[in-house]
Symmetry: C2
Subunit: 421 residues, 2 copies
Amino acid sequence: MMSSSKVYATYRVQTPISLELAAEMIATEQSTGTFVHVPGETDELRALHRATVERVVQTGSATSPALPGSRGAKNEIVTEYQEGEVTVSFPYHNMGASIPNLLAAVAGNLYELSQLSGIRLMDIEVPEEFFDRYKGPKFGISGTRQLAGVESGPIIGTIVKPSIGLSPDNLRMLVRELAASGIDFVKDDELNANPPYFPFAEKVRIVMEEIHRAADKTGKQMMYAFNITGDIEEMLTHHDEVLKSGGTCVMVSIHSVGWAALAYLRERCELPIHGHRNQWGWMTRHPLLGMEFRAYQKLCRLAGVDHLHTNGMDNKFYESNESVAKSVRDCLTAFGPGYDVMPVLSSGQWAASAVKSYQTLGTVDVIHLAGGGIMAHPDGVTAGVESMRQGWEAALSGQALDEYAKTHQELNRAIAKFGRA
Amino acid sequence: MMSSSKVYATYRVQTPISLELAAEMIATEQSTGTFVHVPGETDELRALHRATVERVVQTGSATSPALPGSRGAKNEIVTEYQEGEVTVSFPYHNMGASIPNLLAAVAGNLYELSQLSGIRLMDIEVPEEFFDRYKGPKFGISGTRQLAGVESGPIIGTIVKPSIGLSPDNLRMLVRELAASGIDFVKDDELNANPPYFPFAEKVRIVMEEIHRAADKTGKQMMYAFNITGDIEEMLTHHDEVLKSGGTCVMVSIHSVGWAALAYLRERCELPIHGHRNQWGWMTRHPLLGMEFRAYQKLCRLAGVDHLHTNGMDNKFYESNESVAKSVRDCLTAFGPGYDVMPVLSSGQWAASAVKSYQTLGTVDVIHLAGGGIMAHPDGVTAGVESMRQGWEAALSGQALDEYAKTHQELNRAIAKFGRA
């Protein structure tokens, strides 16, 4: 019953005590310990179940604490806070192959420890048993390409805008225009799932009618990620409606539903899961709190997400291009037995973003979403889509965007409206 | 179809731009807007669906940003960051009565806005429709008291320790001792749910045998919160096992399973749900990020949690007594149509904690958990439980703890071991 498998968790730590002691606190608190020694905490029990500090590396120090409430040893006044990285291993048999129970161990109460003035989960490694239990992305990159009919190159997409409030008729007209434009992918906004003024079933009916009508002409079916975020029965019902209507993708706000719901959906899902990470900002924005994307995207892939949002280059949000690039690389790094996930570039994207994306990321295995960048193109949606393709052509050919724009009208007009590349 | 109901969300904000403008950014981003004006964003659509800034109050300013990545208008150099509170209302019909979709609106992408250098959801108000959809705590305070056989006074409890690694025989002996001690409540540690070395079903069998045996003698059945945290089918199966065996409580790590799973469990649950908030630290510890407990406990109650952890006085974690007291008061403030939740005091608790708890909180409607404070009492578990009761007797009678301890041996011995009151 006692397996020798281990879970490894790496943390960025800031502490008013020594890094070694802080690491020991994490290991103790998250396995066998309490604040006093209790009867039954035998040497044998500790040997079998205790978490182990595997590595402690000092990286620097600070003169003030990143987070409130930390305390030095014996409440002495602290003038220096140690900063470093710490790896702790947890016996697999403490938790079993369970994402929820993994989280209680590697990301539970430890965020509240007063011995830490900063604590961020940077990376995790899970043993085989987790891959036996969780089957990961069902479609991944190749399955998505097949369903979207995009053999190579980036998958160009957009988001239905305005986010909220389109009437059935207006949504129909918009989807008709998009489907005719040759765009590969469209998604619902995360703010729009199943609002009372426009029930989900009606949305599916209208959107799929338009998609099928266009596909009959062009031979290519646009992938539409229907936002099925909701309570569990609602999610499954909506998935079934999309599937039955011939849709090819569902979208879920990961944090709105949670890990157990995501894994539950994956087991019953016949379509790629487009993973939206809204709320992720509050879990990662402070560099000494929460979780690093590297750890996060592994959990998402384990639970079965096929597409994962990473922000885009020069996005309108707080995230730096360097951070976005790291996230995309994390998504494209092998994990588990072929648990491939397709990174989704979005936020403030337009034709010119293609160049910086390709130069920085060096990959076309992305879903590249432009909302306003397509919808608000001065010559309409079709021109917006064309401008995105021209942006990628320029990027892949290595030509300067402005040069390329001279002979490509849609790109030229996009540059004139959205700014200089 | 268009209801006039609204959701209200109040935020603590820090921003390099004006508070008014920052509030407008939140309202726009989280309802009808994108980074450029798009066709279809008509005045009529905005009137029906736009979020509205209801209130802006300046509270202060700072010279450096709380979070990285914020940008001033036109990227100018910022020397002052405005701080304040902002209330935004969202049309109910934008999201419908759905916790997951509520979260996408009030706590979604806004945490990533570069116009904000600090953003924390402080409070929410939801309309009637949410209470129609979510039935809230099934047992609450009165239902818990009835099942635990504690008509009045605090519910005294402990946590199975060591957290991890007790063998079936050792757990049996421990539960036997606890059940004989007259303690009201015992819970699994959040680290211990269904580990491979000790399957859940066997735990239930052993624990309930001992609980029933003791109840046959004493007439009172100790409440045991079995940790059913896990994937969804596992959770439901484990709930059914507890129910079938005559158990009276289940425990769930709220963030490990997520909101949709919690609400799903509530609809199928015949027992009080003991809500463990591990991971909550990383969502709340930074004062200008994440969520305030006031908003959080409303979501928990809406989703159906009957007991909610709040930390305890002089806890071993980072949280101040002031913050704990606020949380307890939030839990005891009316919400919804009788959605009562019982606050759970824990972490570093022992007999003396009763005095400060009662003086500060002025209530006995608490579950008061002492892990080491009971388990590591020098005269054993029964004496540990007795010392906790004596602590509360002293608190309620207004006598000084040391005075009371002179005639109460178990309390006296607790003080000698765990420190001065």
